[in-house]
């Protein structure tokens, strides 16, 4: 009889004690972006031997925990340490072999001298202020033959994850198979490299260039009242969108495809429009932008009142953790406001 009550407790205990399954966790949280084999995609490739050999487990662990704010990679703060360790062990399996281990001691150098060297040798790829290369992993954003994007070395997630010794090693040895070359071979001395490391570390003290969009302060939807009739408003939306260099791709009821023909609410219409150049640009910045697609304004008449509804791109952009996309979304917000204002004028 007592065994019956012990059994469920044992089951629960055994589940709690089971070691986390790194492969399953990787597949669940990482594979969508980095690929099941670590070959990259929306995210950077992880199966690159030169990358794996030049980073330590601590760097990988902290990267998973903290992510890269504003650079697509989210921070997995809800995962337990053992789960992150299991993911690290799994992704280490992509490139078996010797693993790097780095001291956490700070490297001493002259940051002012490092700044001049950085401007000369590093800024072309990593950006003048360490902001990194543009785009996400390997999809849409750049040709697939480029193995890795120049990381944003001014990113708080990077700086918290990478120790000075690790950064120094990357500068000394380079990363084979990537555009990152050995700066020792380029003529820098070890002291020069220490100075560059000191300058990179100084990014921690510099305030970020852009103020992040405050999700909670942005309204979910942009809503405008129209003084015109429903039909006139639909036409005015179309004209305003065309006036902003968009192509009207479809006008349909919101219930199209959901209700039988004739039973749809004819006073609830979506005007879909697109600027393919802008779309192509947005996909290069982040291939997940389907969330915004196609651009649309919904025109509704209820109780004699005509209103226009559109998404607020600024609020949605926060979901992507992509500063570059934020800039596009801020521009898109202005475009939506112009269209809505013109249509309701």
């Amino acid at each position: 009889m007592q065994l019956r009550f012990v059994l469920p407790l044992f089951l629960l205990w055994s589940v709690c004690q089971a070691a986390p399954d790194g492969e399953a966790l990787y597949e669940q949280h990482c594979a969508a972006c980095h690929g099941s084999e670590g070959l990259g995609g929306v995210g950077v490739p992880l199966a690159l031997p030169a990358f794996q050999q030049s980073v330590d487990d601590d760097f990988l662990h902290k990267t998973i925990r903290l992510g890269r704010p504003g650079r697509v990679m989210p921070g997995f703060r809800f995962l337990k340490d053992q789960e992150i360790d299991a993911i690290v062990q799994h992704l280490r399996g992509f490139v078996p072999g010797k693993r790097a281990a780095f001291s956490r001691q700070p490297v001493k150098g002259n940051a002012a001298h490092g700044k001049a060297l950085y401007a000369k040798y590093c800024a072309a790829c990593h950006g003048a202020k360490g902001e990194g290369g543009k785009g996400t992993g390997v999809t849409f954003s750049r040709p697939r033959d480029l193995p890795i994007i120049a990381p944003a070395i001014n990113n708080s997630g990077f700086l918290a994850s990478a120790g000075d010794a690790m950064i120094k090693e990357a500068l000394m040895q380079g990363r084979e198979g990537t555009p990152m070359i050995s700066f020792l071979k380029q003529g820098m001395t070890e002291q020069d490299i220490n100075d560059v490391v000191a300058y990179v570390r100084s990014f921690e003290k510099q305030p970020p260039d852009e103020k992040p969009i405050e999700f909670e302060k942005e309204p979910l939807t942009l809503v405008y009242d129209s003084p015109h009739s429903f039909e006139q408003t639909v036409e005015k939306v179309k004209q305003a969108a065309v006036g902003m260099n968009f192509r009207i791709i479809r006008v349909q009821t919101l219930e199209d495809g959901l209700q039988a023909k004739g039973e749809e609410n004819s006073k609830q219409v979506i005007v879909y429009f697109c600027n393919f150049q802008l779309l192509n640009q947005a996909l290069a910045v982040d291939p997940r932008v389907g969330l915004f697609l196609p651009c649309r304004v919904t025109v509704v008449e209820r109780a004699g009142k005509v209103q226009l509804y559109a998404i607020n791109p600024k609020r949605l952009s926060v979901l992507f953790n992509n500063n570059e996309l934020n800039k596009l979304c801020t521009g898109m917000y202005d475009t939506y406001v112009t269209i809505l204002e013109e249509a309701s004028l």
């Binding site: 995609g41 291939p287 389907g290």
Partner: protein, 157 residues
Amino acid sequence: MSKPDKIYRSMMARLLLCLGLVLPGLAHADLMMMIRSHQTFPEAMALLQEAIKETGYTVSRVQRVDIGLTKSGYKTDKYRVVFFGKPAEIRDLTARYPELQAFLPLKISIFAEGNDTIIVTANPQHLKRAGDAKLQKVINRWEKDISRILTKMRKAD
């Protein structure tokens, strides 16, 4: 059945239910819901629409984003947006929560990445409104349903 038996069965059923909910891929409160399917794009596309229907939704339309881009001279892999919803629910919700009209029908993006396919959508939790328990219930169900759709696709690999 004796009373202890009933208690035991009820306890076991609850425990197994809890384990069942917790073990397979614990859905976390992420802002984006995204998976990689090892199916080719056409297979994944068919699976996605099937999974949406099996979960009780109607696919209202598929937007062929790649076609428009290609016609305009831009290079792109396959990229579609699948719109879906429950007809009665959408009618009811757009009447009660007009601001949701900008987000309905629901949508999932699907695009090719080499031999794999990426399926991604925003977690409906981004639509939540503080203090609105009725809407929260709907949003929670959408989140679970989308999670179910994505799980079905992952299991098909």
